[in-house]
């Protein structure tokens, strides 16, 4: 496929998407780099709700990094249960979230997280909202989706791996991936196995992504990641067929 073709396809997809949405203006799009090709918008639409099913504890780091990209320095709201592990801002700074940017709301009950997220999504002063919810019922997801569209704020719902497939615009599954070791055998850059599980008009795909220089990139050097990447592509291909 030539470059012109892919650009045309992207433009056509955007038109089709706009037609499907009725009159509402298309949301601003955030380019994620490699995963853009699988998304019908050519990037991640902001002002929408995105679900991140956490295969393990590392998904929170991925969500935080994504939140930092979405917010671009604006304040963000981080909603969590009082008894969950404490987000540690000194460490989050490495993922692009500055301490003065993150307003944290802790709640006693799960429903209050959804309420706080909805309040945050309706507040245009925010750059993004992250909620650590265990489950995301379709009705709750639709409420949050509506709030995100109203306020123009992107929402990330980090759910358990077995959470209901709710009404979020995209659904990702994120788990840890072994990092590319440093030349001296130390820990490499943070890495995740990221799969796009559900996205209307998009292709279910999977990648191994690495956090490097403030963005998600394919692991470097590619020779190391090659086998696992092709293996994932095979798996996705089987599922698509």
């Amino acid at each position: 496929m030539t470059t012109t073709d892919s650009a045309t396809i992207t433009r056509l997809r955007a038109r089709i998407w706009a037609l499907e949405q009725g009159n509402s203006a298309p949301p601003p799009i955030l380019s994620l780099g490699t995963p853009d090709a699988a998304l019908p918008w050519g990037g991640l639409p902001l002002a929408r709700l995105h679900q991140i099913a956490a295969a393990d504890g590392s998904a929170l780091g991925f969500a935080a990094a994504l939140l930092g990209l979405i917010a671009r320095g604006r304040p963000v709201l981080w909603c969590r249960r009082r008894d969950s592990a404490l987000p540690f801002l000194p460490g989050l700074a490495a993922l692009g979230l500055a301490p003065d940017q993150v307003v944290m709301a802790k709640t006693d009950r799960a429903v209050e997280i959804l309420w706080a997220m909805e309040e945050g999504l309706r507040c245009p002063a925010l750059g993004g909202v992250l909620g650590e919810v265990s489950d995301l019922a379709p009705a709750a997801a639709r409420r949050l989706q509506l709030a995100a569209e109203t306020g123009g704020v992107a929402g990330l719902a980090v759910t358990s791996p077995r959470a209901t497939a709710g009404g979020a615009t995209t659904r990702w599954r994120v788990g840890a991936a072994p990092s590319t070791p440093t030349p001296w055998g130390g820990l490499g850059q943070p890495s995740w196995n990221v799969s796009l599980e559900r996205c209307r008009g998009g292709l279910p795909r999977a990648w191994t992504l690495e956090w490097r220089d403030g963005g998600f990139v394919l692991p470097h050097p590619p020779a190391d990641a090659g086998p696992s990447l092709s293996r994932l592509r095979e798996r996705v291909g089987v599922r698509a067929a």
Binding site: A94, L95, V103, M104, A125
Partner: protein, 521 residues
Amino acid sequence: METPRRIVSLWLPSFVADRLTRRGASHADWHAQPLVTVMQQQGALVLAAANAAARHQGLRPGQSLADARALCPEIKTVAADPTGEADTAARLARWCTRWSPWAAVESLRSDGGAGLWVDASGCAHLFGGEQALLDDMIARLAAAGFTARAAIADSPGAAWAAARHGIASGSTAIVPEGGARQWLSALPAAALRLPEAMVATLDRLGLRRIGDLTILPRAPLAARFGPHLPLRLDQLLGASAEPIDADRPALPYHARLAFAEPIGRTEDVAGGIDRLIQALCKMLERDRRGARRLILTLYRVDGSLAEILVGTSAPVRNPTHLARLFAEKLDGLDAGFGIEAIVLAVPVAEPLAAQQMDLPVEVRGGPSGSDGLALLVDRLAQRLGPSAVVRQEPRGSHIPERSIAPASPIGRLAAPPPGNAADPRARPVSLMRRPEPVQTFAPPDMAPEAPPAAFRWHGVTHRVARAEGPERISAEWWHAPTSPPPQAFRDYWRIEDAEGMRWWLFRDGSAGRWFLHGVMA
């Protein structure tokens, strides 16, 4: 022209008994029966207070219970409760702030009566004149279950005398402005709030009425009876100031709304609050201040109060903002038998520069600017609690759990302390609430300082693929009262397991045990 001082003295002659038999109280059904409270006095039970029915039977406070039972066998007795009585009187005084912001408990007397002050200077016209004000007080206190007498005069002393001794018929008395000397001259000397012994002495001397005393020169009176008597005379005539010590200061920003009919629907209350907020915001704007804390007091028909407290993260005088904060709190409102008045006050206000309030919010850069964030934070804090909405501020400590502190969600954070910046890549993204012990599996040739080959946490074994460390963090000896032992340190390791999960583990220096302290990105 200065508004003349007008003081209302309320006398509740059977306060203690009324308190027990008022609606909703524990002995409310005993209203018509002889009822006394008793207390221990020198080993004997004596009457502390008696209600009207008991007095009618000839019972008086101070009698022994045995005598009382002889006079009236069917008497009901309740243990006296001085603390509860003082509490009720204080609440009643606060309820009286519905008429004037300045109200206080005057005294709780041993005969079971109570007195209240209400400074009604410049207030009476709001209630249709002084007579209407006094009638309103009597009627509302009666509805709340208290028999009362009320008198208004230029000075607390004159009002007190009129309420206790000057009411011939009915239950209200108005001492006209400047007419205290003439109006009160026929009252007995006891109306001067004097000790009983002094009243008896005056009586022996033929000085039975206030009028007998006011015409005498003060100097000989002071020489004979001490300074107390001339002071009381001056206080009665308003020549000597007598401050009323109200239990809460009048708030500079407060607005009040009374309803013609009691209201109970939340929507109606919210409508009333909106009007008060508008009025308050005008006052605040005039002084270029914004509210940090607001108190809404709801006066229920039955004489009880409900208070709603609201705090803000930054000075606010945007009516919409404030109204939304109250809307959050009105959900579980108990209106009781109805709400007859509401008062909104701002106890804490801070300077806030002038703003153009009439422009639409969007034009001022409202919700998209810092204003919008302040509103969001206030709404969240209102429902979740003020300590639940915070940011993290760096603090000068190397111990991870002490290196951050909760900080205000709005405004500028403190600068990070110098020399404390750890590499953020060496810190976890989430920290366990407390370090959790893990079981470790050492390689056969393991040195004590080496990382484990595997560790077990929550029933899952993680094989260590790579490890970086140790990063030694020692106890902060400069904070400890005694020097900590040299082995009080933690050796932190960044560990990646076979699946790629990264953990932050440490080995405790003193015990040599391993703990999981966080999850790395």
